[in-house]
């Protein structure tokens, strides 16, 4: 019975199928809303599903110059990482499937595994566009990761716990968004950097470097990377909503809060144009990190 329950948690809810479909639906919502803001009709509701099925049914070309084991293994590791992160989050408003003191750190690092794998995947090939894309991906990772992490730790420090469940309990009783507004903004924008959304899409800038680190990927590998991105969208939205928007208690709470956050992301995506990679780094290290550190300092002072 215990084995069955574990399998159900890993494969169907909340680990496997549910979060994949949830991710595809949110991806569709993202594309549709951007299209509507641009006066377009936008894709049909099953578009991400059709894309993924088509990619999975396509031939996977393994270029001659790559390390084949890495080339095939990296997308799997990336998807596995984000799916693992989702196990520690209150997906769909239910309590996290697994929880232990310090799972916040594990989750945040599991979430950056996708970016890391993308970077290694780009560096693995001999393609010049992939290499430029990989360099940019990793540069961007090092610029937003620290502020994003600090912004996530802000509520944790205020709550005095490193466990997502307990921080959520604290967030439900305190207006964290008012206590740490800077942290909220940094977390939201850090999420956009993580997902390589529009102002921060220099790593995959399709008008300059073809498709960035993904250039040589086709078929299955590409599909797994995209699925990883969709799951990361869900996980990131859940994490930010749970920490800053007063926790997630029930399914309705979950959908309302994550979709509201998605709407903000869509608006920002539509408004902004792509930043150069040096502008991205400058933005994060000159302003983002310093502001969030300042807020951390204030939080610590107020707590003691």
């Amino acid at each position: 019975m215990d084995v069955l329950r574990t399998l159900f948690t890993l494969m169907i809810f909340p680990g496997g199928l549910f979060i994949l479909f949830n991710g595809m639906v949110y991806e569709w919502a993202d594309r549709k809303l951007v299209a509507r803001l641009q006066n377009r009709v936008g894709p049909r509701w099953f578009q991400p599903l059709a894309d993924m099925l088509k990619l999975l049914a396509k031939e996977e070309v393994v270029p001659a110059s790559v390390d084949a084991r890495l080339f095939i293994g990296l997308p799997v590791i990336a998807l596995a990482g984000v799916l693992t992160a989702a196990l520690y989050l209150p997906i769909a408003g239910l309590p996290p499937a697994y929880s232990f003191p310090g799972d916040l750190i594990v989750t945040v690092y599991m979430l950056s595994l996708l970016t890391l794998c993308t970077g290694i995947a780009g560096a693995n090939t001999n393609n010049r566009f992939s290499l430029v894309g990989a360099t940019r991906t990793l540069t961007q990772l090092f610029s937003y990761e620290a502020p994003f992490m600090l912004a996530m730790l802000g509520p944790a420090v205020a709550a005095g716990s490193w466990q997502i469940d307990e921080v959520m309990g604290y967030a439900a009783e305190h207006p964290v968004i008012l206590m740490q507004p800077v942290g909220f903004v940094i977390a939201l924008i850090g999420l956009m950097g993580k997902l390589e959304m529009r102002p921060f899409d220099a790593p995959e800038a399709e008008t300059e470097i073809v498709a960035g680190a993904m250039t040589e990927y086709s078929g299955r590998g590409l599909a797994l990377f995209y699925l990883g991105r969709y799951v990361e969208l869900i996980a990131g939205l859940t994490l930010v909503a749970a920490f800053y928007l007063g926790g997630i208690q029930n399914p309705l709470d979950y959908f309302v809060k994550t979709l509201a956050l998605l709407l903000v992301l869509v608006g920002l995506q539509t408004l902004m144009t792509r930043l150069r990679i040096d502008q991205t780094v400058g933005l994060w290290w000159r302003y983002g990190t310093l502001l969030v550190l300042l807020q951390w300092f204030v939080t610590l002072l107020l707590r003691s």
């Binding site: 594309r31 299209a35 641009q38 006066n39 377009r40 009709v41 936008g42 894709p43 049909r44 099953f46 578009q47 599903l49 059709a50 894309d51 993924m52 099925l53 088509k54 049914a57 396509k58 031939e59 996977e60 070309v61 566009f129 399709e206 008008t207 073809v210 498709a211 993904m214 250039t215 040589e216 990927y217 086709s218 078929g219 590409l222």
Partner: protein
């Protein structure tokens, strides 16, 4: 045995459905005067919004399903066109857009021109016009998708010789 056949049938249907609903295109200019290319870009603008049909412009041949070719194939572009075609993963389809891509057009017989696209790579759909309207290009893509849905479209994998 029966169950295996049914399973295969369902699997094929799902694959065809996904393929028809998500054609990612790659645009390649093999020596066109840019007229057709401007029309293709106009097709991708919000006014025509081809994302409605799941069409997405991809930069990398590795991601694309449909290669949209414009212009006659020049001697220099021939090897590049072949290479881009070879880089695309199976199943792949080609649409030749414009008079030049179909027959060589105004450039027919030029000293630097190999000929039309069909002489270099297999073409599935031809869209005539000089240049064709965006509506015609969308119609070409729709015809290709319609062709995919018929069983005969299961085109055998062809080996192109460089």
């Amino acid at each position: 045995m029966e169950l295996g056949k049914v399973w295969n049938d369902v699997f094929d249907r799902v694959k065809t459905w996904a393929r028809v609903n998500s054609p990612w295109v790659l645009h390649f200019n093999s020596g066109s005067c840019n007229g057709c290319d401007i029309e293709i870009l106009a097709t991708l603008t919000p006014r025509y919004d081809v994302e409605r049909f799941g069409v997405k412009l991809e930069g990398s041949p590795r991601h694309a399903d449909v290669l949209i070719c414009t212009g006659p194939v020049t001697l220099q572009a021939r090897d590049r066109l072949l290479r881009v075609y070879e880089q695309m993963p199976e199943p792949k389809f080609v649409i030749a857009v414009g008079s030049c891509a179909i027959s060589g057009g105004a450039f027919q017989g030029c000293y630097n021109v190999v000929g039309h696209v069909d002489e270099v790579i297999p073409v599935d759909i031809y869209v005539p016009g000089c240049p064709p309207r965006p509506e015609a290009i969308i119609d070409g893509v729709a015809k290709l998708l319609g062709k995919l849905q018929t069983p005969a479209a299961a085109r055998p994998v062809e080996e192109t010789v460089i």
